[in-house]
């Protein structure tokens, strides 16, 4: 006990104001959900549709998690769509040899990682701008995909692969009423973990004598997050249970939230993006950091390729077209800065969901792709404008 707990004196509104920039994207996602709930008369909030939003956007969200790291170091990766297609095609071919799902998945991740190494080498050590390297990569891997697939779809020998995307996690016969039992159980555990983590963190701060927020704010936070968890999981439970892809997404997101917040490499990524020269003179091996980030992006492309192949139930030579643009847009809607150094995993996921909910809602309303592009473009511009405007106002440069 250093000098006991110091409670920061701040009102609820003051706190919201202070964190407006962080909260704005969640508020935006909530508003968009509500707007489409009204427009589609609630169809977009049905269990089936909520599950679909996750499944249909999973491969973009996986890419966005990697892309946000690339954007934080101040680079861009235009090749992800083509790499998704290439690793997706390879995964289909590997699976069709009969080696089974897990070996296919592991090999696909390795191949993605090797592709990442290849591009990272040119970017980090040969100092070719990422924009150019990955533009070449975009053409190269699209071409290679055409070559290995012979420009025809590769269908899968059985339905096992498909489960990664459209399957769900169930325990046979474990049902509570009409709800899936496992989903409800996981929901309960998640809420308990949330409560435990929130208090553990607060107590540790108190123990170290740091300033903490008043107790009621912890309760508000728990209530808000628990409401979100309950909303999502009851939807899952009312449909088929937790989608497998939801689990994949959860694991990826958790790993990268941890990496960006709690590891040395995570801190190095932000440092290199914030000011590469300062970072270098601070003793950070910036080439190595850039290399690692692009390799991570490659591995996640491999994963996304597998998920997309599973979702389509075949490997298409045209797969992954324009995925890079969706992934990049997700990051910027989620508050990443084009100048580098700023961005979060959770922001990228939220940004991806904003785009996904808009796509989905407009499809439900039978609005075609033409208008979907227009609306998405407007959201991207407005979101980034708000971000830059609020940053300038609060003196963040």
């Amino acid at each position: 006990m250093a000098n006991g707990a110091q409670i920061e004196q701040i009102s609820f509104l003051g706190l919201v104001k202070q964190n407006m920039r962080k909260l704005s994207m969640f508020i935006m996602l909530g508003l968009i959900l509500i707007v489409f709930a009204v427009l589609t008369k609630g169809v977009n909030l049905t269990p089936r549709n909520i599950t679909n939003i996750f499944i249909q956007n999973s491969y973009i969200l996986i890419l966005a998690v990697g892309m946000v790291l690339v954007i934080i170091i101040g680079n861009i990766d235009l090749s992800v769509g083509s790499v998704v297609a290439f690793s997706g095609a390879i995964s289909a071919m590997l699976y069709n040899t009969g080696m089974g799902l897990i070996p296919t998945l592991i090999l696909s991740l390795i191949i993605g990682g090797l592709i990442g190494c290849f591009q990272a080498f040119w970017i980090a050590f040969m100092r070719i701008p990422a924009f150019i390297t990955t533009l070449a990569g975009m053409l190269l891997f699209r071409g290679l995909t055409y070559i290995i697939t012979n420009v025809t779809p590769i269908s899968l020998i059985d339905d096992g692969f498909k489960k990664i995307a459209s399957g769900s996690l169930n325990i046979k016969g474990f049902k509570i009423g009409s709800y899936d039992g496992l989903a409800l159980l996981v929901m309960l555990i998640a809420i308990l973990l949330l409560i435990w983590f929130t208090f553990r963190q607060r107590n540790r701060k108190i123990k170290n004598g740091f300033t903490v927020l008043a107790f009621r704010f912890s309760i508000y936070k728990i209530i808000a997050l628990a409401a979100l968890i309950i909303f999502v999981f009851t939807r899952f439970a009312a449909y088929r249970g937790i989608p497998t892809v939801g689990l994949v997404l959860f694991i990826v997101t958790t790993i990268f939230i941890f990496i960006t917040n709690n590891t040395v490499i995570g801190r190095y990524i932000y440092a290199v993006g914030g000011n590469a020269k300062s970072a270098k003179l601070s003793g950070i091996n910036s080439e190595q950091v850039v290399f690692i980030v692009h390799v991570i992006m490659g591995v996640l492309c491999g994963l996304s390729g597998v998920v997309f192949t599973a979702y389509m139930n075949s490997a298409l030579p045209q797969a992954g077209n324009q995925f890079e643009l969706d992934a990049i847009a997700s990051c910027f809607i989620g508050g990443a800065a084009a100048s580098g150094g700023i961005g979060t995993t959770i922001g990228a996921i939220t940004g991806g969901l904003v785009m996904g909910v808009i796509n989905n809602g407009m499809s439900l309303m039978n609005i075609g792709a033409d208008w979907q592009y227009v609306v998405k473009a407007s959201i991207l511009l407005l979101a980034v404008f708000y971000d830059i405007w609020s940053r300038r106002r609060s003196g963040l440069g």
């Binding site: 709690n262 914030g274 270098k280 003179l281 601070s282 003793g283 963040l396 440069g397």
Partner: protein, 508 residues
Amino acid sequence: MSDQYILEVKNLTKDFPGVRALDNVDFKVRKGEIHCLVGENGAGKSTLMNVVSGVFPKGDYEGQVIFKGKETNYKSTRDSENDGLSIIHQELTLSPYLSIYENLFLGHMKTKFGIIDWEACLRDSYPLLKRVGLDEVPHTIVSKMSVGKQQLVEIARAISRDAQLIIFDEPTSSLNDDESQKLLDLLREFRNEGITCIMISHKLDEVLAVADSITILRDGLSVVSYDVTEKKVSRQQIIKDMVGRELKNLFPKKEPNIGDIVFEVKNWTVYHPDYHNMKIVDNASFHLKKGEIVGFCGPMGAGRTELMMSIFGQSYGYGASGEILLNGEKVSFRNPKDAIEKGVGYVSEDRKSLGLILIQDVKTNISNSSLPKLSKRGIINKDLIRRKAEEYKEALQIRTPSLEQLVLNLSGGNQQKVVLSRSLLADPDIFIVDEPTRGIDVGAKFEIYSILNNMVKEGKSVIVVSSELAEAISMSDRIYVMNEGKIKGVLDRDEATQEGIMHMALVD
């Protein structure tokens, strides 16, 4: 009488945030003379010239600038150029990948009905090049020529705009002796043709060789002007005028406790990162003892920062050669990381772009050099980072509302303390600080001096690169004097005076 002077500056005052750069300065230049402007680093020479040439527009300063008998009203350098006043900056402003003749007429192209008349540009470039004595074909790409030749292009450019007054900001700082001599000859030629020249220079030999008048600035005040055509002035007199300020008691006392040599650099040579045959540091050798503060003095461009950065993990330049001995053992630092791990710390003179990550908060900046120590198996210990940051905030008196404050919102002095904290947390034995007190107020300066004194008290060794002679003399146990990439000599604490250092740098 009034047309005797082509340029008159009256009661000029120019403020920067927190600093008065020029204070009621008067400055007169006669028509057709070579007028030299001398003064220490930061005396306000460049600021004065920037005001005159419209880099700082009218309204940005107080006082009057009268050119050719009329008060000027320049909004940018474009206006002053049109008025016949050109400035040749220390850093050349040519477009590197364009040819000589394209550069010559950049901004005032010869046109016919709005279309560039390349024939005319090319034709007119020959006499201009001849006039400045540049024997290159106009098609040559400027980046392929030496700095001296590039400078001639820039001068030709000024003449092509019918300049009546040309300001040269340290024109010979990156030229060799031969090129410098040619440039001085060119200035004399201009004088004969009736073009007025103002030259800012640190090289007193050149100043005395070429000047008709000399004005000396010190701390933003115009100290004195000499008319050399009437009466000669001595070097000593000029140096005295440059530095002649009284030393106030601005420095904390320290009791030196000096041990053996811990760090030694031998025959260190570094070349310019872009011009690979231009020596920036020339065969420099020096050493540092345990518990010692060693100062590095010399004019701007002497190569001090470049020497330190190239030692610190080859952070500057090309083709560095020489030996580094750490505790008697030969070492080499592959990169800054390597240097930090072996116990060398470096704090850059340019804290904003080379020291800090402005968009990150105070505690993150402090931790950035020491994360391996503040983590276990790659996972950082956030509580420990916070505690360490708190510790340094207390020890160095960093004034910030919280450790979560972004460093870009801190004042210069507090930013400097954050950079120092970052380097100190990495626990260096050899600590190199480059201009540690640049742009910060007196109180913060005193605190930073105390921090350095505390370090040597703990048995560490410090190198201070400083352009403030008073600071270097008061802080250092020994002072190395550098100029033009060479170490010109070393002075002990007792024998170092401002005049002595200047003399060593500029004359010997």
